[in-house]
């Protein structure tokens, strides 16, 4: 099917500006295939349903100038993580720890791309491809996959990333720190968590003035993947993340992201629960004040029996900030006993800010429990007065109520020590 003219032009311009693919055989093939995919999908434009609330132009045309990130990347220091640093989209070995961790092998994408028959071949671009093109199971084309061309673009154009294989219980978390001096960054990580293994991944910092960071995570039976992401208050960043995950039997995926400020942020999470009894939680908290547009887009497909998925998103918005939530739970016909929960809420601190939500349930199985809710509210005046009547100044009372509003999202972080670190930084950002 031919693409509309504007989309076609944009797509051709994008394709012709792509860097040369990796040299290594499997990686070159994967990147070449992604180009073909991107050509067929077309770059996103405002008219696309999937981009109804968020204008993709900043991701698809020239990025704005950018003030260098100044925030220190130390939120998770106390967790003593193994830290790997990317500056302007490429690995900075000097600023990184040795990639040695018991139970884990870590390589760069650049290195892995040169190895023939690397295991990463079976994962790089594979979940993205599945989400972009695969038909529904059971022969029946029950749903059309949503085109995610910016993820295909990432697969086609990424210059670096990490290739992580977890074979046991990682003895400490891996932290990926991002720094930017401005410009574009296109980073693609693939992570394979083997049966019974577990890893906690922490991400901090700003990858680029305009960044597209992708995670493809394959979680085998009884394996667990925990993920925390801190998006710092750098006003001029245009941040896009694409997280793809596939879950095996009795596996766990839990992700929490905290976002402060940023002119444009879109965090997409696309998960497929393919094994029975799997658990997938994704949560986020956002502080937006002023020229901020923050978008959480989640698509969870239940493709197995007795799985649980949970989405908890909270945004605090003021001075014209815009929050977007698009969350979908798709339950395939055989995915009986599905337990799906989704809540998205905004706290609007003034009349200038807005929250746009599109919660969706699409259920083809008959024995499921799915619920979703979305609300937009103002500050509770009775609570505000109560706090002030005890001597808490107005601004601090608003902060306390803001923290209380966000608490439900932060409660999604399982590890208490990590949750404490996130909470501390949240309070700093809030009171800055």
């Amino acid at each position: 099917m031919a693409l509309p003219k504007a989309k076609q032009d944009l797509t051709e311009a994008t394709l012709s500006a792509l860097p040369a693919p990796f040299d290594g055989a499997w990686a070159k093939a994967a990147q070449d295939e992604a180009r073909v995919r991107l050509a067929a999908l077309g770059m996103p434009v405002r008219r696309d349903e999937y981009w109804k609330f968020t204008n993709p132009a900043a991701y698809t045309t020239e990025a704005a100038e950018f003030a260098t990130s100044t925030d220190t990347l130390d939120v998770f220091d106390a967790a003593k993580p193994l830290t790997i640093t990317f500056v302007d989209g490429v690995l900075d070995a000097d600023a990184s720890d040795d990639m040695m961790l018991e139970g884990v092998t870590i390589e760069t994408l650049v290195d892995a791309a040169d190895v023939d028959l690397h295991w990463a071949k079976g994962l790089y671009g594979v979940l993205e491809n599945a989400a972009n093109t695969a038909p529904a199971k059971d022969g029946a084309a029950l749903y059309r996959s949503v085109p995610r061309p910016l993820a295909a673009l990432n697969t086609a154009a990424a210059r670096d990333g990490l290739v992580i294989r977890v074979s046991g219980a990682a003895s400490r978390p891996i932290r990926i720190s991002y720094r930017s001096n401005g410009g574009d960054a296109m980073i693609h990580h693939v992570i394979k968590v083997d049966e019974g293994a577990s890893l906690t991944l922490l991400e901090e910092g700003t990858a680029g003035a305009r960044s597209n960071v992708m995670l493809e995570v394959d979680i085998a039976d009884k394996a667990a993947f925990h993920h925390l992401r801190m998006q710092e208050p750098v006003a001029d960043r245009h941040t896009l993340t694409n997280t793809f995950a596939r879950l095996g039997n009795e596996s766990t995926f839990k992700s929490f992201g905290l976002t402060a400020q940023g002119v444009l942020t879109r965090n997409e999470t696309i998960m497929e629960l393919t094994g029975d009894d799997a658990v997938a939680h994704v949560a986020g908290a956002c502080l937006g004040d002023g020229n901020v547009h923050h978008d959480d887009t989640v698509y969870i497909t239940h493709d197995a029996v007795n799985c649980e998925s949970r989405q908890v998103f909270k945004k605090v918005l003021r001075n014209g900030a815009v929050g977007v939530f698009q969350g979908k739970i798709l339950v395939q016909p055989h995915a009986q006993k599905t337990d799906g929960y989704q809540i998205s809420q905004s706290l609007l601190l003034d009349d200038d800010s807005q929250f746009l939500a599109k919660p969706e349930l699409e259920i083809y199985a008959d024995d499921v429990a799915c619920s979703h809710g979305s609300t937009s509210g103002a500050i509770d005046e009775a609570a505000l007065f109560y706090l002030r009547s005890r001597g808490v100044p107005h601004a601090e009372a608003i902060n306390l109520l803001t923290l209380s509003f966000l608490a439900e999202a932060l409660e999604e972080i399982d590890d208490e020590a990590l949750a404490e670190m996130v909470q501390t930084r949240l309070e700093q950002w809030l009171r800055a």
Binding site: A382, A383, Y386, R390, G391, H394, L401, L403, S404
Partner: protein, 251 residues
């Protein structure tokens, strides 16, 4: 201490006058009680004094130790030493009771130019005062008033008062919802705070509370005005005869 002169208050939202010329002089070290029929304006008076939105003062004044409080923000009134124990304490999900108390205590200390209490010192004081009121550790940890029983909420109000040590304490029906034992605890809490530099304004419907917290002066409020003031015997009269005679006297 607190001086209220000819206070007239209307609702902001609708054209309705609620207080119609209240006069009260509350001296330092005294306990004043206000009684009066439902809807006569007792809570409204307490809210206006503590600075809640939604009311318009159309006439009159209120000052705390000579300082006009009606122009102050609620937090400034609190820092100046005014405290209201709410008739209906507010639930604040997600804010821990302890965090709330420490934030409030330190905010007031800061506003008065005093050092903030260290976490350790604070904890020590709070534990001791909570124990006196039979507030257990669990209630201190839980979100402010969330899931508290009616009586627990009232005890929590008194704990806040004990921590903040205000000089002007207004108690709006703190006795409602309290069982007999809790009433004693709360009264002990209040009496422990009584001293020559602190003033209480106790709003209540029942003599029972005044058996424990002995008032110096009792006022009767009706239809937005103080219609009669007298000694403790006035409360007994209300207890025995209701308001009919008093209202008739006025008519």
């Amino acid at each position: 201490m607190l001086s209220i002169k000819n206070l007239h208050v209307s609702l902001e939202e609708e054209d309705k006058q609620i207080l119609k010329g209240v006069n009260l002089e509350l001296e330092a070290g005294k306990v004043h009680a206000i009684m009066g029929p439902n809807g006569s304006g007792k809570s409204t008076l307490s809210y206006v004094l503590s600075g809640r939105d939604g009311y318009e003062v159309t006439e009159g004044e209120a000052s705390l130790d000579g300082e006009d409080i009606l122009e102050m923000e609620p937090e400034e009134r609190a820092a100046a030493g005014l405290f209201l124990a709410f008739q209906y304490p507010v639930e604040i999900p997600g804010v821990g009771n302890m965090t709330f108390l420490r934030t409030a205590v330190n905010a007031q200390r800061k506003a008065r130019g005093e050092e903030e209490l260290s976490a350790g010192d604070f904890l020590k004081v709070v534990r001791a005062k909570a124990k006196d009121l039979k507030i257990d550790a669990d209630m201190l940890k839980r979100p402010v008033n969330v899931g508290f029983s009616g009586g627990e909420k009232k005890r929590n109000e008194i704990l806040q008062m004990a921590m903040l040590e205000p000089k002007m304490c207004i108690l709006d029906e703190t006795d409602s919802g309290l069982d007999v034992d809790a009433m004693k605890l709360v009264s002990q809490g209040v009496n422990a705070l009584r001293d020559e530099n602190r003033t209480f304004l106790v709003i209540t419907h029942y003599q029972r509370l005044l058996d424990h917290i002995k008032p110096d002066v009792v006022h009767i409020m009706a239809d937005g005005k103080i219609i009669k003031s007298g000694g403790p015997e006035l409360a007994l009269e209300v207890e025995n005869n209701g308001y009919a005679d008093l209202l008739a006297e006025m008519a």
